[in-house]
C-alpha cells in the first residue's frame, strides 16, 4: 500500500474536529478520488499526508506512506519524504510560485537544494520536464517569470515540478478547478498521462463528483470531516449508497436527464456545529431520530463501505430472499 490513512482525527480549536476517523488508501498506479463540499476537510487530508498541519492541531491516527508513519517520523526523514516521495499540486498555480523568482528557479530549487543534484544537471532536467508536460520552447520558459505565463501554463509548470523528484505519490488538490474548461481538459489529460506512464499513485481531490467518477478508480466522499462513502467510481456513480452521495449526484445537471434538479436542503456545517451523531442527519431526507445520536461507522456495501445507519435495512429490503 502506497498511502494508508488510518483513523485520522484532527482537531484545531473548533467545536468539532476538522477530520474524524478518516480512513483512506491509495495503491501504486491507482487514482483515488476525494470528493466533498468546500470546507469538508479535503485539503486538510492532503496536507496531513505531508504533515503540514494547522497551528496547534491535535492529531491522532496514522498516515502511512510506504509503511512509514508521516506523523511521527523525524524532521530529516520528513523533509526527504516531502522532497522525493510525495508531491502536491495545488488549486491556484499562480499563488503556488514565488512571483519574484524565475520558472527555472522554481523547478530546480527542489532538485538542487533538497536532492543535492548539480545545478547544470538540474537545469537540463527541468527543461526535459517542461517538454514532458507539453510546453514548447522550455529553455525560454525557464528564464520567464510566473506573471508572464497563463494559468494553464503555470499549472503545467507545477505538474513538472511535482514530477521533478520522481515521486511515488501525487496529491492533486483541486488541480484543475481554477482553470477554464479547455485548459482543464488538457490538464486532466496530462495528469492521466504522467500518472499512467510512471505508474504513480494519485489522490485526486475535487468538489465535482462527476469529474471524480470519470477520472478515478475509486472515490471517497467526505462530509464534515467524515468519509461517508468509499467505493469504486463506477459503482458509486451508478448506485450511490449514502444519502449524501445520492444528494450530490442529484444536484448536478445532466444532459438528457428529465428529472428536476434537487439541491441538498440546508447548508454545509461549519466547525462550530456540534455533530454528535451522523453529520449528515440534519440535511438528510431519510433521517430518523436515532441518526442524530448514531456515531458513523463504515458499513460494508457492494465494492466498499458507506457510513449510514439505514444501509442494513436497505440491503435487507433489496435482497431477493
Amino acid at each position: 500500500m502506497l498511502l494508508s490513512v488510518e483513523d485520522l482525527t484532527l482537531e484545531a480549536g473548533g467545536r468539532r474536529p476538522i477530520l474524524r476517523d478518516v480512513a483512506l488508501q491509495v495503491r501504486r498506479g491507482e487514482i483515488v478520488g476525494l470528493v466533498g463540499e468546500s470546507g469538508s476537510g479535503k485539503s486538510t487530508i492532503a496536507r496531513a499526508v505531508l504533515r503540514l498541519l494547522p497551528q496547534g492541531a491535535r492529531v491522532s491516527g496514522r498516515v502511512l506512506v510506504g509503511g512509514e508513519d508521516v506523523l511521527t517520523m523525524d524532521d530529516a526523514r520528513l523533509r526527504a519524504l516531502r522532497a522525493s516521495d510525495v508531491s502536491m499540486i495545488y488549486q491556484d498555480p499562480r499563488s503556488s510560485l514565488n512571483p519574484v523568482r524565475r520558472i527555472g528557479d522554481f523547478l530546480t530549487e527542489r532538485m538542487i537544494l533538497t536532492l543535492g543534484r548539480p545545478a547544470a544537471e538540474a537545469r537540463s532536467r527541468a527543461a526535459e520536464l517542461l517538454a514532458a508536460v507539453g510546453m514548447r520552447d522550455p529553455e525560454r520558459r525557464l528564464r520567464q517569470y510566473p506573471h508572464e505565463l497563463s494559468g494553464g501554463m503555470l499549472q503545467r509548470v507545477v505538474i513538472a515540478a511535482a514530477l521533478a523528484a520522481d515521486p511515488a505519490l501525487i496529491l492533486a488538490d483541486e488541480a484543475t478547478s481554477a482553470l477554464d474548461v479547455t485548459t482543464q481538459a488538457e490538464t486532466l489529460a496530462l495528469l492521466r498521462t504522467v500518472q499512467a506512464e510512471r505508474g504513480l499513485g494519485m489522490l485526486f481531490i475535487t468538489h465535482d463528483l462527476h469529474l471524480a467518477s470519470a477520472f478515478c478508480d475509486r472515490v471517497h466522499v467526505l462530509y464534515a470531516g467524515t468519509v461517508v462513502e468509499s467505493r469504486p467510481a463506477a459503482d458509486l456513480f451508478a448506485d450511490p449508497r449514502h444519502p449524501y452521495t445520492a444528494g450530490l449526484l442529484g444536484c448536478t445537471p445532466e444532459l438528457g436527464d428529465p428529472r428536476p434538479l434537487r439541491p441538498i436542503p440546508g447548508r454545509p456545517p461549519s466547525l462550530d456545529d456540534l455533530l454528535p451523531g451522523c453529520p449528515f442527519s440534519p440535511r438528510c431526507p431519510h433521517a430518523e431520530a436515532e441518526c442524530e445520536t448514531w456515531a458513523p461507522r463504515p458499513v460494508a456495501v457492494e465494492g466498499g463501505v458507506a457510513a449510514c445507519r439505514l444501509i442494513p435495512v436497505a440491503v435487507q429490503e433489496r435482497s431477493p430472499v
Partner: protein, 311 residues
Amino acid sequence: MALRVARKLAGLVATLLATSFIIFGAAYAAPGDPVTFLAGGKENLTPEYLAAVRAQYHLDDPFSVQYGRWLWDALNGDLGRSFQYNDEVLDLLAARLPTTLGLVAYATVLFVVIGVALGVLAAVRGGRTDSTVVAGTTFATSVPPFVAATALISVFGVQLGWFPVAGGGSFTHLTLPAITLALGAVAIISRVTRQAMVEQRELDHVTVARASGLAERLIVVRHVFRGALGPVVTMCGLVSAGMLAGTVTVETVFGLSGIGSLLVGAINTHDFPVTQAVLLLMVVAYITVTTLVELAQPLIDPRARIERSRA
C-alpha cells in the same frame, strides 16, 4: 518608455523648482535684517554705509528679481558668497560635505544591518524575542536624539572612554554620532522588516516550498526574506534620504563640523546664501535617493518591469 522617463524627469524638475522657490521665499521672509550681520554688527553705522552694503548684495531688488538671479546663478554652479565667512558657499559645502556624508553613510550601514537583523530575528523567532525587539525599538523611537546623544556621550565617551566625545575627522569620532542618528531608523526598519516577513510567510508559495522539502532556513532566505525585500529596500532608502536633515541635531550636539552644523550657524547668523544652499542640497539629496530607490524596484520585483513597459 521614453515618454515615461521624460514625464518622470519633468516631475523632478518641477519639484526642484517648487522647493527652491519655497526655500528662497522662506529665507527672504525670515525676520531680521541681514544687513546688520553683513555690516559686522557694528554700532552707529551710517545710513550711507548700510545702503552701500545693500546695493553690493542686491538686497533692495524686488523679490522676483532676487529669486531669478539666485536661481540662474545656482544653475550655473554659483551659490553665492557666505555673508558670514565671506567664502564661496560652494567651498564651504565642499569642505564640510565629507564629514556629513561619512556620518550618514556610517549611520545607514548601522541601521540597515541592525534594523534588518532585528526584524528578521523577531519574525523568525517570534514569541519572547519578538516582544523584546518590539518593546526595545518602541523605546528607541520615543527617546529624542539629543537625549540619546547625551546618554551615549556620558556612558561610552566619558565613563568608559571608548570614543571621543566631540570633534571630527576619524571613524571613531563618528561612531557615537552615527549611533545616535541610526537609533530611530533601526526601530523603523526592524518593524517594517518584521511586518513584511510576517506577511510573506503566510503566502501560499511559501507553504509550497515547505511541502517540497526545503529546509526552514532556506525558506526564510529564499522566499520569505526575498519577498520582503521590496518594502524593506524602499523604507531604507526613504529613511537614509531623510537622514541628512537629522544631522542638524547630531552634528551640533557632538560638535561635528558638517553640513548640519553649518546650517544651524547660517540660520543663527542670517547667512542667507548658505542657508539656501544647504537646504537645497538636502532636498536634492532626498530626491536623488528616492528616485534611485524607485529605479531599483524593477530589479527587486520583476512584476514592476511589466507595469513600466505598459505605462
